[in-house]
Amino acid sequence: MTGFLVGLALKNLFRNVRRNLISGVAVIWGVALMILGYGFIDGLDENIIRTEIDTLSGHVMLRPQGYPESSLSAPVDMLEPLPQELLAGLAEHTWTQRLRFDVRLVSGPESIRAMGVGFEPLRDPQVFPRDGYDLKGAWPEQRGLVVGSRLARLLEVGPGEVVVLQVRTSAGSINALSIEISGVVTTHNPAIDNFVVLLPLDQAMSLVQAPGPSEVSIRLPRRGQADAVAAQLDGAWAAHTYMDAARDMIALNVARRKALGFLVLMIMAIAATGIANTVIMATYERVREVGALAAMGMTPGQVRAMFLLEGAALGLIAGTLGAALGAGANYYFSTSGVSLDALAESGSAVTFSTTLYSAFRWGPVLGGLAFGALVAALASIYPANHAANLDPAVAVRTD
């Protein structure tokens, strides 16, 4: 009997294709928006985390105890050489050290504040891969400066030109260094491209007279190892994982997720109203038919099931179309990406990659599809009950 009811529900669905299609459109858009929206938010999570790991923190970052966690502050008066016990713990990992310092970049009459980063020319690329970078010029091996691309554009400088770096040393005095720009780099992370200049660590330490680096970054084979390694190394220096650095940004995405969920719920509520209306109209149009079926012995439960199945089938078909639309668009953006260059141009200091790829997962696709069917089935409960409660003696003679 179940197969018969399913078959009848599907056939009834095609009685009024145009009306059902209009009712299904809201489900299609709701499911598609849900899949694509969550794909982008998941993609943004991954974007933030990957950019944080690949350009700023590595999987685990160690800093001197008491050193500020904000990347916008880089005091050099509290630095110390790397403790021996820390060096011993780092031996089994791929790691590098960096020195951050506040710097003023001067070119002729123009100057601009920036963040200086001293890096180890040989080790740094092992922790911070440069595969996606666009570099004009070259990375310095012993002396030279690489400037973030927007910073270079603002100062109108490029490779081969000489600029002056003004800093305050660890002793509090002013120091300056005339240095040739060896390269201009676009990392696609606005926090670097808009604000950072990079030079070899030895040269940087000499410039600010720092006794040691401000941070050590470790790259691990797998992200999942980060917590354990951080716990193991935490001691003389404070250990943080990439998630500690990305947490604030990820928290913003939680709010985005809630806002999207609310929007999807609103669309699905509209869809549910449309489907309920469609099924109600179907029950009023088929009173005599339902009466005849009931007279022939169809139970109220079977009448109810017939209309619920019809609503659910409408939701399933619309949900499938919505899932196909959402999944197709999500797949496209997961491979092609969306450019966020306009955001970077606004001078953002936030860490993210300017190419955002949505995250394609089957879970939201199947979830969206099921959600569409469920909403439609729930919306059909009232009209299905109405049909089930018809009196067959009256219904068979209804005009």
Partner: protein, 223 residues
Amino acid sequence: MLLKLDRVGKRYPMGGGHVDALKDVSLEIQAGEFLAFAGPSGSGKTTLLNLVGCLDTPSSGSIQLDGQDLGRMSRGQLGQLRAARIGFVFQSFNLIPVLSALENVEVALRLGGLPADLDRCEQALVDVGLKEQLHKRPNQMSGGQQQRVAIARALVKQPALVIADEPTANLDSHNGEAVLDLMRALNEDKGATFLFSTHDSIVLDRVRRTVWLRDGVVQKIEP
């Protein structure tokens, strides 16, 4: 005896009071009868047909179908009884438009808890002269053909009783006569019991017994 009605009454609430649609109707109907309830509008013939068709229950008195007291049955039990033992032919045919003639007949078997035997359904349609229309949908058939499908649907489960509510009302006289002749032939060939509600002379000319009703009371029984 197939049906026995003993002092059956049916009262409906209306406004602040009530109306008696049937009053003290007593009647005995044998298996194989070809009988009509006749009378003017409001005489109670449809109410009586609903009661003997297990679509409604009496307010007073008792109705027995094959010795079973219908008044003691729940709504669900009445539904099971209808599915298994009673066939219906409606004035407006009430076929399911998205199903073919064959599928419409099959519905009755499924609801009656019988196996969906397509050969049996096909034979029922052949019996009513629709051999060439098996796979047509109701909107591809004439009114007379649709009513024949309804008759096949009513008879396919070999019911004890066929309830036909004004079966010729939506047919022209030619088709009406053809349908009634077919029902009479099926009554004679298969022994199916037919109960009609009608005031159509086409029906009244062909039934073997007529129960005349007026104001909810049996006025006379002919012959």
